[in-house]
C-alpha cells in the first residue's frame, strides 16, 4: 500500500469519527449502490447524492424545495387536500396513514410558491416516498390547483416529478387525473404560461404520460428512469432482457424526448437562467 493511500484511508477514518461525534443520534443510511453508510444529516447536506459513488438517492419534497428555492421563500399551498378513498379500497386507508406518518405529508404532492434568485415561481414536488409518488385524486387536484394558481398570478410553473404512475388504489379516478392535469397544463400554456417539467428517478406510467411530458421545457436528472411501461413489463411482453441504459434520461435525450440533463447540484442555477430569459 502506498503512503498516500494510507493517509487518505486515515483521513476517511478520522472524518467518520468526527461525523459520529457530531451526529451520534442521527439515523444512518447506507447508499444502495456502494453500501457506504452516512448519517441522515450528511445525506441532506449532500442533496442526497452519495459522497463516495455519486449515486442519486430520492430527495424528500421539502428538501427539494430547500435546494431549489431562495432561503425561507417557500410558502405552502393547499396543504389540507387529501383523498377520500373513492373505491373504499381494502387496506388503502391504513397505507395512507402509515405513509403520512413516514413523510409528514397528507399525500405525495407538495405545492407552493417561492423564489429562485428573487424570481417568484409556482412550484410543486412529487415525493417518491409517499406510495411511490403515485397520482390519485389528491395529487391530481393539487397539481391542477397549482397550475391554476400559476395562471392567475402569472407565474412560471415548475414541477419536479418522481412517480410510479397512477395510483392503483383509486382505480379510474386516478386515470382521470391524467386527463385533468393535462387539461390544466394545456390551458396554462395556451395562455402564455411557462411550464418547466423536471423529471427525476423514476418518472413512469400515468405521470410520465400526462402533465410531466407536457413541459415547454423538460429537464431530467442524470440516470433517471423515465418511461411509460416499466422495464419489467416490457421484458415480460417481448421475452428478452433490455439493454443497459434503456429508458434512462440519457436514452431519452438521445431519442429527442427531453431538452437537457441537469446535474442535481446545478438545477437551481439552470432553472434561474431559464427564468431569466422568460421575464
Amino acid at each position: 500500500m502506498l503512503l498516500n493511500d494510507i493517509f487518505s484511508q486515515r483521513k476517511i477514518m478520522w472524518d467518520r469519527m468526527a461525523q459520529k461525534r457530531k451526529r451520534g443520534q442521527e439515523k444512518v443510511k447506507a447508499c444502495p449502490k456502494c453500501k457506504t453508510e452516512y448519517y441522515s444529516g450528511e445525506w441532506k447536506e449532500n442533496q442526497y447524492i452519495c459522497p463516495t459513488c455519486h449515486a442519486y438517492m430520492p430527495v424528500p419534497a421539502k428538501e427539494r424545495m430547500a435546494n431549489i428555492l431562495d432561503e425561507n421563500s417557500f410558502k405552502e399551498l393547499f396543504p389540507q387536500i387529501s383523498t377520500k378513498d373513492p373505491l373504499d379500497f381494502d387496506g388503502y386507508e391504513e397505507k395512507l396513514q402509515s405513509n403520512r406518518k413516514k413523510t409528514g405529508m397528507q399525500d405525495a404532492f407538495l405545492a407552493g410558491s417561492g423564489k429562485i434568485n428573487n424570481q417568484k415561481v409556482a412550484i410543486g414536488v412529487l415525493d417518491g416516498r409517499f406510495l411511490m409518488g403515485s397520482m390519485g385524486t389528491a395529487v391530481g387536484e393539487k397539481i391542477v390547483r397549482l397550475t391554476e394558481y400559476a395562471k392567475k398570478k402569472n407565474l412560471p410553473l415548475i414541477i419536479f416529478s418522481a412517480s410510479g404512475g397512477a395510483r392503483m388504489q383509486e382505480g379510474l379516478f386516478s386515470l382521470m387525473q391524467m386527463a385533468k392535469t393535462a387539461a390544466a397544463i394545456e390551458q396554462f400554456k395556451r395562455k402564455g404560461g411557462l411550464f418547466i417539467s423536471c423529471l427525476t428517478n423514476p418518472t413512469t406510467g400515468g405521470v410520465s404520460a400526462s402533465y410531466a411530458s407536457l413541459g415547454d421545457i423538460i429537464l431530467a436528472e442524470p440516470g433517471a428512469l423515465i418511461c411509460f411501461a416499466g422495464p419489467r413489463v416490457i421484458e415480460q411482453t417481448i421475452g428478452q432482457t433490455l439493454p443497459e441504459g434503456f429508458q434512462r434520461a440519457e436514452f431519452l435525450l438521445e431519442h429527442g424526448m427531453i431538452d437537457c440533463i441537469v446535474e442535481r447540484k446545478d438545477f437551481r442555477d439552470t432553472l434561474s437562467s431559464i427564468l431569466q430569459m422568460h421575464l
Binding site: L172, F173, A179, E186, A209, C227
Partner: protein, 259 residues
C-alpha cells in the same frame, strides 16, 4: 340484471364475437374513407381513422382495431397502440378541428403497447399530447368504450364531451391481471381485482365518471344512432369557447378528496 360478476364482464368485453371498429363504421356511417399515417414515422394498424357521413353531418371517426382472427390480431397488434397510432389519431383530430367536424372515437384496447420501439419513440409523449389536445379541441367529441378500455391507451382517445360505455364494456386504470400482480403480487387474483377496481359500466356511471350506458342486444346500433344524433346536434350548437370550457370543467371536477 347484475347476474354477471365483474370478471365475467371483463371476459365478455374481450370477446372476439363483439362488434369491431369496422362493424361500427359500416353500421353507423356512410361513405367512410380511411386515412393513414402520422406523417412522422409510420402507419399504426392498431388505430383506424378517417372521415364519413353521419346522417348529413361529416364526422371524423377514430377507433382501436383489435381484429377477430388470430392472424388479424397479430397484424393489428391486438389493439395495443404505439406512439405512431396516437399521433395518427391526433393528426386526424387536428384536421377535424380545422374543418369543424365532430370527432367520434371507439375505444377497445388492452392498453398502450409496452414495447421497446414504442418507448424509444415516445409513448408517454404521444399519450400526453393527445390528452392535452383533446381537452382543448375546438370541435365536439364523443367517446364510446365498446369493449376493453384499459389504461392511458384508452384515455388517449377519450378526453371527450361525452363518454359512453356499452352495457358490457369495462374501463379501468390497468388490466385486472396487471392490477392483481401489482397490488396482490398474484396475477391469478384477477377476479378479485375486477371487483375491487369497480370497472363495469354500471359502477362507473354511478361514480359519474361516464355519462351514459348503451344497452346491448338487437337494438344497440339503433340506440347508438339516435343518441349520437341527439348529442351531436346539442354539442354542435354550442359556441367553441363554451364547448371547451364545459369539457375542461367536466374533467376538472373529477375529484374525490377532502378539502
Amino acid at each position: 340484471m347484475q347476474t354477471m360478476s365483474s370478471y365475467e364482464k371483463v371476459q365478455l368485453a374481450r370477446s372476439k364475437d363483439r362488434p369491431g371498429i369496422y362493424d361500427y363504421i359500416r353500421t353507423l356511417f356512410d361513405g367512410f374513407i380511411e386515412f393513414h399515417g402520422d406523417r412522422l414515422y409510420r402507419d399504426d394498424p392498431s388505430i383506424v381513422g378517417g372521415i364519413a357521413m353521419f346522417h348529413d353531418i361529416p364526422v371524423t371517426v377514430i377507433g382501436h382495431h383489435k381484429g377477430k382472427t388470430t392472424e388479424e390480431q397479430i397484424a393489428y397488434n391486438f389493439g395495443m397502440t404505439s406512439p405512431e397510432g396516437y399521433r395518427k389519431a391526433r393528426r386526424l383530430m387536428v384536421q377535424a378541428e380545422k374543418f369543424g367536424r365532430p370527432v367520434i372515437t371507439f375505444i377497445d384496447t388492452p392498453g398502450a403497447y409496452p414495447g421497446m420501439e414504442a418507448e424509444s419513440n415516445g409513448q408517454s409523449n404521444a399519450i400526453a399530447e393527445n390528452l392535452a389536445f383533446m381537452s382543448a379541441m375546438q370541435t365536439p367529441s364523443i367517446a364510446i368504450i365498446t369493449g376493453e378500455g384499459s389504461s392511458g391507451g384508452a384515455l388517449a382517445l377519450a378526453v371527450s364531451d361525452r363518454v359512453w360505455m356499452l352495457e358490457n364494456a369495462v374501463y379501468s386504470i390497468l388490466s385486472p391481471e396487471g392490477f392483481a400482480s401489482i397490488l396482490y403480487k398474484d396475477a391469478k387474483r384477477a377476479s378479485e381485482a375486477s371487483d375491487a377496481m369497480k370497472l363495469t359500466a354500471q359502477d362507473l356511471k354511478q361514480f359519474g365518471l361516464i355519462d351514459a350506458i348503451i344497452p346491448e342486444g338487437k337494438k344497440m346500433f339503433l340506440a347508438l344512432d339516435s343518441m349520437l344524433l341527439r348529442e351531436l346536434n346539442r354539442l354542435m350548437k354550442m359556441n367553441k369557447t363554451a364547448l371547451v370550457e364545459t369539457r375542461y370543467q367536466k374533467f376538472r371536477e373529477i375529484d374525490h378528496m377532502n378539502d
